[in-house]
């Protein structure tokens, strides 16, 4: 009997030993584990497509633009000035209608399981990428729904007369008129360069639609695997034209649920998480860090300047003076937004620090009302938008706070809210007195704030729901668009901002922030002020140069399979 039990015991202990050695022993081989060379990003949704030309959704451009592609030019540095990318330099003629790009000659496209490039990047690729959008007869123009929302919104095809190939590495855009936001548009996430050679191969295979599903670009990462609703796997592009990305593998773990993103972040299953909740919890953990950037948007409170009593500038100023902006930011945005001094966020290069601001002064507000002829106050309505937007997470609460503020100066407020589409329709018909709304910029050019929100032409189209039309302001915007001299443009926009804050057709309230959480072992910038995130500079802290050279060949082999 004893023998039998001994046997049991020894077998059992053997099995345990074997299991333990499985778990621990065999780990010595790789000095640097896979996780130290990779980053897992918990993203909030699946991309609609792998071609950012086709979509303006943030999720799509986060997953594609800066990972898979490059544009001709990019925004660089803190002041967001334009810098070279696939184009090493560019030249604008004096009339601003001809823009010539001189292209890099050392850029290679991704080599993947579905495409092997035989040539380097050249002018044909640029031609292909832009003609797809511009030329209705282009073989790829109608592929994937014929929708190029960003380019349609900036009226790209009306602006560009044609794109010319001068030689293999020189390309020229000929514009119908001078527009200084043109270069800004080319530097957005949407103006990416596709491979013309890949397009041809797909055409031969009669599989044109694959160009947006199996992407080929020049960016720092290439697509390895995509499972809808589950994950996107990128490998590093080994022959990237700049220095290679620091991580070898990038995985997007698609987790639409906010709580599961938080759990994965806390349990270290994600290195980086998009749009985290429970900011306080993340901030108190020493192994996690929370970061934010001010987005290019603005939430504002605006007046219908065509209606009594808001056709009087002094009334608008009085109301603005009576609103406690700080309280709004703390309550509605939970302090997670930047104070808006003007409609332009501080992160824009055209922002002017010296813009005058009215501030919060209920006493002066009261006296201004008296001067304007309303010593007893009046009754007004505020239209609060019924939906949640980044620039205004809760308009109804904001309206209630404003209601309380205005009560102090004797103004009675009625809060009005309709279903979203009705709300917008009635607003554009001008049925309102005042309203809470906001704007998110498509690209960082300052014009994208000034013209759509407050210009005369926008007031005719119904997009400018203040119906404020100021000739001087409009002239400033025109001048700013006609010049390419940055400091001159900045001057014009500073004057425009001053006019807004004097005339007060609207009171800018806040620029919301975009949040991201990451483990403290992840370094390098990921968020940028506008456009999608980029993992090009991201790395795990443990990576050393020595270890890099050891592990390189292995993954390179795998990647080429």
């Amino acid at each position: 009997m004893a023998v039998l039990t001994m046997n049991f015991n020894s077998i059992f202990s053997l099995a345990i030993a074997a299991f333990v050695s499985l778990l621990t022993g065999c780990n010595e081989g790789n000095k640097l584990s896979l996780s130290e060379r990779s980053i897992i990003y918990c993203s909030e949704g699946s991309p609609e497509t792998f071609n950012p030309q086709l979509s303006t959704s943030g999720t799509t451009s986060d997953a594609t633009a800066k990972q898979l592609y490059n544009s001709l030019i990019v925004y660089k540095g803190k002041s967001n000035t334009l810098g070279p990318s696939l184009a090493k330099s560019w030249h604008v003629t004096r009339d601003g209608k001809k823009i010539t790009f001189y292209l890099r000659q050392d850029v290679s496209f991704h080599q993947t399981s579905y495409f092997t490039p035989t040539r380097l990047f050249n002018a044909d690729d640029v031609l292909f990428s832009f003609n797809r959008i511009l030329d209705k007869k282009h073989a790829f123009h109608h592929v994937s729904g014929n929708q190029y929302p960003f380019f349609q919104s900036v009226k790209f095809s009306e602006l560009v007369e044609k794109v010319e190939k001068i030689n293999d590495f020189t390309i020229r855009f000929i514009l119908k008129r001078n527009d200084s936001s043109f270069l800004a548009n080319l530097a957005t996430d949407y103006a990416v360069i596709l491979s013309e050679e890949y397009g041809q191969i797909l055409q031969e295979k009669n599989a044109e639609h694959e160009i947006d599903i199996f992407p080929i670009g020049t960016g720092p990462f290439k697509l390895k695997d995509y499972r809808v609703g589950s994950l996107i796997r990128f490998y590093r592009h080994e022959s990237y034209w700049q220095e290679k990305a620091k991580i070898e593998q990038l995985v997007y773990d698609i987790s639409p649920s906010k709580t599961s993103r938080l759990t994965k972040l806390l349990a270290k299953e994600c290195d980086v998480s998009s749009y985290p909740i429970a900011h306080a919890k993340i901030a108190e953990r020493s192994d996690l860090q929370l970061e934010s950037i001010t987005s290019l948007n603005v939430g504002y409170f605006a007046f219908n300047t065509k209606k009594e009593p808001f056709n009087n500038k002094m009334v608008r100023q009085a109301i603005s003076l009576a609103i406690n902006k700080q309280a709004l930011i703390e309550t509605v945005y939970q302090g997670q937004a930047a104070w808006a001094k003007s409609i332009l966020p501080e992160t824009s290069w055209a922002y002017d620090k010296n813009t005058p601001e009215l501030g919060y002064d209920p006493v002066r507000a009261k006296s201004l009302l008296e001067v304007a002829g309303y010593p007893q106050g009046f009754t007004m309505d505020i239209w609060a938008m019924p939906v949640q937007r980044a620039y205004n997470p809760n308009a109804v609460t904001m309206a209630k706070l404003i209601q309380a503020d205005l009560k102090k100066i004797g103004v009675t407020v009625k809060i009005v809210s309709y279903e979203w589409s009705t709300f917008l329709r009635r607003l554009s018909q001008g049925e309102h007195q005042s309203f809470l709304l906001g704007w998110t910029a498509d690209h960082p050019d300052p014009d994208n704030f000034f013209t759509p929100i407050l210009s005369c032409s926008a007031s005719e189209l119904g997009n400018n729901r203040t119906f404020w039309c100021n000739k001087e302001y409009d002239q400033l915007l025109q001048k700013a668009l006609k010049t390419t001299n940055m400091s001159k443009r900045k001057g014009y926009y500073a004057k425009a901002m001053a006019i807004i804050n004097e005339e007060m057709p609207l009171l800018p309230i806040a620029h919301s922030k975009r949040f991201q959480a990451r483990g403290t072992d992840v370094e390098g910038d990921i968020l940028s002020n506008f456009g999608g995130i980029s993992f090009y500079n991201a790395a795990k802290k443990t990576i050393t140069n020595e270890a890099k050279s050891i592990v390189l060949p292995e993954i390179a082999d795998k990647a080429s399979n």
């Binding site: 009997m1 039998l4 790789n30 584990s33 897992i40 796997r233 759990t263 806390l266 299953e269």
Partner: protein
Amino acid sequence: MLTFTLRRLSLFIFTMLVLTLLSFSLSFLFPGDTVINHSGQINASAAELAHLNQVYQMDKSIFYQYGAYLTHILNGDFGQSMASQSPISNEIIKLLPATIELSLVALLIAMLVGIPLGFIAAIRHNKTSDNVILSLAMLGYSIPVFWLGLLAILVFSIGLGWLPSAGQISLLFEIEFVTGIQFFDILLSDSPYKWQAFRDASAHMILPACVIALAPATIFIRLSRASMIDVLAASYIRAARAKGLSFQQIIFRHAIRNALIQIIRHVGLQFANLVTIAMVTEVIFSWPGIGRWLIDSIYQRDYTAIQSGLLVLSCFIFIVHILTDFIYAALNPLARGNKHGS
């Protein structure tokens, strides 16, 4: 043994017939067109619809319809998922192994923990350790699994950071799908990170498997305790003791073997219970198994998937039942003579 096998086989066939009848009738009970519920082709054109009506023999009597439905199922055609529009059989083949793997590991844990504890309780009958084990079993049995799962994530994943909270394996590892059983696939793969992947997969397995194992383990405690008490009261044990065999000899040579036979009968029964618990747990731990898929299908009103998923799952549980019956019969010659199927 032959009659025993035939008996089980006929039982299997008739149960399957009843099950398919049930799943067939679901197509009529669910809202919408019957043939679309059968096939899952919600975007079918008029021509496709006519074709479907023909292959499912919708113009003939209900018996022909059932026959056509049965033929489709026997050919492995469960229609396509209304939500993803991909064949359900493909989805099931991808997902079922993950559930089997999780359930088997959980069953193993439940047995390895539950049975010895039950034996100890029986041997120490009416003593403190018996009472402690019984109260723990009661406690464990009363804890709802969804609460336990969340608590386990809170403590072990978020609080202590020991174990991962979601999925089958870290997304960093690319393991090719061969058998669908993750551990086998890892061992079969030629990834240079095999052992890292194996470690990672084991770490992912621990929490969900333990959460699933808790309730069955408590049942195993009570089962094994009861059967051990029975065995210890039997006269052959008394005879052995009278012969002067040591306590260890009595327990290990005689008592355990005979007690185990009674427990094995119940393993099949417990397995059904375990799979139900596993479905909830899969949702909590984002385990890519058939349970989570089925619950998602319910949310998405994917009738074809619900219907076929239920059929496959119940078929699977029934097969496990029959297998344990065979094992029981192989171990216990008395059961083979049993004239009435149990």
